[in-house]
């Protein structure tokens, strides 16, 4: 039961509350560049979701089985050269960025080959955008988030398993798709409006993105609310956190710059 609550919280948080575009700013380049037509935007969102899921699967697998200290593959190989105790402490996480980008590049390559073979019309309509997904910040960001929840936590009980990692990737992609489709719908209407000349193109898109981000800010606190409802915490903890929120500004800064588990993302 606890596990499903965790999955629900991760899904909600990744797709709506801490939306990849409106909260974490990753994936802004396609957001500003590709969001002119709704069907293109939806196709881009689906492609990013698909690639993100594959890349998250690969990066979770490599992190858990090769990179972190005590991982099976690294311990096995190092066991030929040193004692088993020293082999269990080999920490390869310094290679994680290189490994992740390699995994992302190869998954994009595979997706491209697959789409070219089985959906040629879709491949033609994508054009140059499919290889460009390699440099999409959102995919690497999803891998980094998974790494921080696998290699960066001290308590072994809080390490994310494959289900949570795939939930983050899938719903992060769904949130990205929601954001980019909303934006493209607005931009299609915007073509009939009288936008001032200096603002045409990217500038007005960013301003509208800011207004959408304000709208999405209304969802903050939903995950802690659901968490408190489904997993009630002792009353003592509630009182101490209430007392520190004196002013509105402090309250806003308090609740909006925190990640899923209350850790600070930005100052």
């Amino acid at each position: 039961m606890d596990y499903f609550v965790d999955i629900l919280l991760i899904a909600l948080s990744a797709s709506i509350i801490n939306n990849f575009i409106f909260y974490y700013f990753v994936g802004c380049c396609p957001f500003v560049g590709v969001s002119k037509k709704v069907d293109m935007a939806f196709g881009m969102g689906c492609a990013v979701t698909f690639v993100m899921s594959i890349a998250a699967f690969l990066s979770w697998g490599i992190t858990v089985f090769v990179l972190i200290p005590g991982a099976p593959v690294s311990t096995f190989i190092a066991g030929f050269f040193t004692t088993p105790e020293a082999a269990a402490q080999i920490d390869l996480t310094v290679l994680s960025y290189i490994v992740y980008i390699f995994a992302i590049a190869s998954s994009v390559q595979f997706v491209e080959m697959y789409v070219r073979k089985f959906f040629p019309s879709l491949y033609r309509s994508f054009g140059v955008f499919l290889p460009l997904i390699t440099t999409n910040c959102a995919i690497l960001f999803a891998c980094l988030m998974i790494m921080s929840h696998v290699a960066g936590v001290d308590n072994p009980k809080e390490v994310w398993d494959l289900g949570k990692a795939m939930t983050l990737a899938l719903f992060g992609g769904i949130g990205f798709t929601i954001a980019i489709v909303i934006m493209s719908g607005i931009r299609e209407e915007l073509e009939l409006c009288d936008v001032p000349k200096p603002f045409k193109g990217a500038a007005i898109t960013l301003v509208i993105g800011g207004i959408l981000a304000i709208a999405f800010m209304g969802f903050t606190g939903v995950d802690s609310g659901i968490k408190n409802a489904l997993k009630p915490t002792p009353a003592v903890q509630e009182q101490s956190s209430e007392a520190s929120r004196n002013t509105l500004t402090q309250y806003l800064a308090d609740i909006t710059c925190k990640g899923h588990n209350g850790e600070e993302i930005l100052p």
Partner: protein, 205 residues
């Protein structure tokens, strides 16, 4: 080959005329994310400068060995190596800043500025021109970050790097240091830059 821009021209071009953020619209993720405060913006600018210069130099040195199909992968792996170096140095010597910047330092790997510069300039020119180009672009990037961070921090907290700039009765526009403020600030500044550009073109006519 005679009318290729010289090193000095490339350096100057990168600062304002071909500014990576305001003119080429690259690297928006990093720009929006770290411009909460001036300190994080300047740290990010220095990191990007380091990675850009090193990657440009290395790619320019091996430019005759690149095959067309694999060049993007080679660029990305080179950049990933230098970003790992920058990330570990930052974590070792400025731990608090490293925690604040969080996942945005590794995201320099997929920052479009660096890959674009490698593709356009470093894989075709010699080392001196590539290095000058990288320096110009990173100064331009730093200027863009500093301008956005200054506005966001002054309007959002009334202080700039610890110094009080606005009087004490200023009601802090907290929205400016939150995500929506980033989008709106960048959009408005981009509009301003476009406006200045149009006015200059009209004056030239």
């Amino acid at each position: 080959m005679a009318d290729q821009p010289t090193a000095m021209e490339r350096f100057v071009q990168g600062i304002l005329p071909e500014n990576p953020v305001y003119r080429q619209l690259l690297g928006l993720c990093a720009t929006l994310a770290v411009t909460n405060g001036m300190k994080s913006a300047l740290t990010m600018a220095v990191c990007v400068a380091f990675v850009l210069v090193c990657a440009n130099v290395v790619i320019s040195l091996i430019r005759n060995l690149l095959t067309p199909h694999l060049r993007i992968v080679v660029f990305t792996l080179t950049i990933a190596t230098f970003v790992t170096v920058a990330d570990r140095v930052l974590a070792a010597y400025m731990f608090q800043m490293s925690k604040t910047l969080g996942p945005y330092i590794p995201l320099i790997i997929v920052n479009c500025i660096i890959i674009c510069r490698c593709e356009v300039c470093a894989s075709k020119q010699n080392v001196v021109i590539a290095a000058a180009d990288a320096l110009g672009q990173s100064i331009g990037f730093g200027l863009a970050l500093a301008s956005i961070a200054a506005i966001r921090e002054i309007l959002g907290t009334g202080m700039l790097m610890g110094f009080r700039v606005l009087p004490a009765f200023w009601p802090d526009w907290v929205i400016m240091v939150l995500p929506p403020g980033a989008f709106i600030t960048l959009g408005l500044l981009l509009g301003l830059v476009n406006y200045i550009d149009f006015k200059r073109e009209e004056a030239r006519k």
